[in-house]
């Protein structure tokens, strides 16, 4: 849940007075033309924007009622809880095995048996256990782009997050791979809250429960996907989804 969120890069205001609520166990899609702030909004939710010089944030972001900008929030714990999948798959240049257990190893020194179990669960969760179980020691960079993206999701699942943020997760993939990742998202939403940023309206229409349209840093409207696409309240939304610009 967001309250009156403003975000500035230096003097440029990237997000303007955003109020929104993202429900549990649903997929919310953020759409809008490039530069509208949708990725920025996403990266605010796990405070990845903190890494950028000169960023100033006002307002509140509450996750399960707790303000993530509060003084007692441990950044590493927040990011563990709010996992993120990036636009381009970014497996580490390590083996498949080491990629998946990277997270658990950060947060403790679990015994080998436990790691094996996490590994199995995470890779099964992204439906690629059978594909890679015989080559866990090979470099993750040898996988196809789609497999790499799945691996990145598996890497997230291994630290048991509650929320998954996805920043155009399919933009580097071909149509078939896109479809399979979308299926995977439907599977995952049973256990996770998913927020996805996409520039592909058809994808938002196909794969999400709620959609939010952003334009020039404002959240113009947010509602059930069916309604946004059939009966948009705002003319800007309508212009965008009918392709007048973008």
């Amino acid at each position: 849940m967001l309250r009156r969120l403003n975000l500035f890069y230096g003097t440029f205001q990237a997000l303007k007075d955003i109020d929104a609520t993202f429900p549990r166990q649903a997929i919310t899609a953020l759409i809008g033309p490039s530069g509208c702030g949708k990725s920025t909004l996403l990266r605010t939710l796990n405070r990845m924007n903190d890494l950028i010089e000169g960023v100033r944030i006002e307002g509140q972001v509450l996750i399960d009622g707790q303000d993530i900008f509060g003084p007692d929030v441990v950044l590493t714990e927040l990011r563990k809880k709010v996992g993120m999948v990036f636009q381009r798959p970014n497996p580490f240049p390590l083996s498949i095995y080491d990629n998946v257990v990277y997270g658990p190893r950060l947060h403790g020194r679990p015994p080998k048996a436990e790691l094996e179990e996490i590994l199995g669960r995470a890779l099964t969760g992204v439906q690629m256990w059978d594909e890679v179980k015989d080559r866990l020691k090979t470099s993750a960079l040898s996988l196809t782009e789609e497999q790499q993206q799945r691996l990145c999701i598996a890497r997230l699942l291994a630290v048991s997050p509650e929320i998954l943020l996805m920043d155009e997760p399919c933009s580097a993939l071909d149509p078939m791979a896109t479809l399979r990742i979308e299926e995977l998202m439907q599977e995952l939403k049973k256990n996770y809250t998913i927020i996805i940023v996409t520039h592909n309206m058809q994808q938002a229409a196909r794969a999400s429960d709620l959609s939010g349209f952003m334009y020039l840093g404002e959240l113009i409207e947010l509602g059930p996907t069916g309604e946004i696409f059939t009966r948009p309240q705002d003319s800007r939304t309508e212009d965008y989804i009918t392709g007048k610009y973008g």
Binding site: T76, H107, G108
Partner: protein, 278 residues
């Protein structure tokens, strides 16, 4: 027991910052020591008078002239070669065995230690070509030394010119050479200048090469066939043979300050360049 990640991060950061601090202190110490002991020696007379009594007395005028003479000549020789190489590598050829050999040659040349260059210059220019210990022998050898620097910086500068410019030029029906001379080189000029300035800095401080190619005659060179003692060589002789510590410090101060000024200027130029292209 496993260290808390936040605690271990703090420990490591402290260690790394300490070591960085030590490095900086060494640098500051060097500059401050040279400045404090050397600058009082540097007067107008010191800069403008001839050396007398092996450099025990008098100024360093002949060494300034020799340094400028040799350095400029070396840069004049090396710049067209270096920039030409860079243009060839970036614009006129595709990656292949030729570029690999040229790049490898330039990298190896950059790694050749100055004493080997000194030996080479001594045998080829001084002895075989009969140029003797001279400004020309020194400049030729120095030119080979700075060639890789100019090649590398020019290549980077030319590569940094946005590909869009070239595409735009070609789609306007410009030939390759027109594109290079009218758009690419002007855009890369600041970067190329940076490389040339770094080469000057490197030449000013060089000793081993010049000791065996330009000689150490302590008088003002006039012709390119005269021997000349550069500031760095002069400083080395003063210090090593214990001729005059105050004059050694004075020479070092002039030398270090001119190199620092040139390098700072080169760096500032590079910064502006980087800002321009984001």
């Amino acid at each position: 027991m496993r260290l808390d990640p936040h605690l271990s991060q703090r420990l490591v950061k402290t260690l790394l910052w300490t070591l960085t601090g030590v490095t900086l202190l060494i640098l500051i110490f060097i500059i401050v020591d040279i400045a404090v002991k050397g600058l009082p020696q540097v007067t107008w007379a010191f800069l403008s008078q001839d050396s007398t009594d092996m450099g025990r007395a008098g100024g360093i005028f002949p060494t300034i002239v020799a340094t400028a003479y040799i350095t400029l000549l070396a840069i004049l020789l090396a710049s067209p070669l270096g920039v030409g190489t860079a243009i060839y590598l970036t614009e006129y050829t595709r990656e292949g065995w030729a570029t690999r050999i040229i790049r490898f040659g330039s990298e190896c040349l950059a790694g050749v230690p100055s004493i080997i260059l000194g030996l080479f210059g001594f045998v080829l220019f001084v002895l075989k070509l009969g140029l003797g210990w001279s400004v020309l022998s020194g400049a030729l050898t120095l030119a080979i030394m700075v060639l890789p620097i100019i090649i590398r910086t020019s290549e980077e500068a030319i590569k940094a010119v946005p590909q869009d410019y070239r595409t735009a030029c070609y789609s306007l029906g410009m030939s390759q050479w027109q594109t290079v001379t009218r758009i690419v080189l002007p855009s890369a000029l600041p970067g190329i200048t940076t490389g040339i300035m770094l080469s000057i800095g490197r030449s000013l401080g060089e000793t081993a090469v010049l000791l065996f190619t330009a000689g150490a005659a302590l008088r003002t060179p006039v012709s390119v066939f005269d021997s000349g003692r550069t500031m760095a060589v002069h400083f080395y002789i003063l210090a090593r043979e214990g001729i005059s510590m105050p004059n050694a410090y004075g020479t070092a101060a002039v030398l270090v300050i001119s190199i620092l000024l040139i390098n700072i200027a080169a760096y500032t130029l590079m910064q502006r360049l980087m800002k321009r292209y984001g």
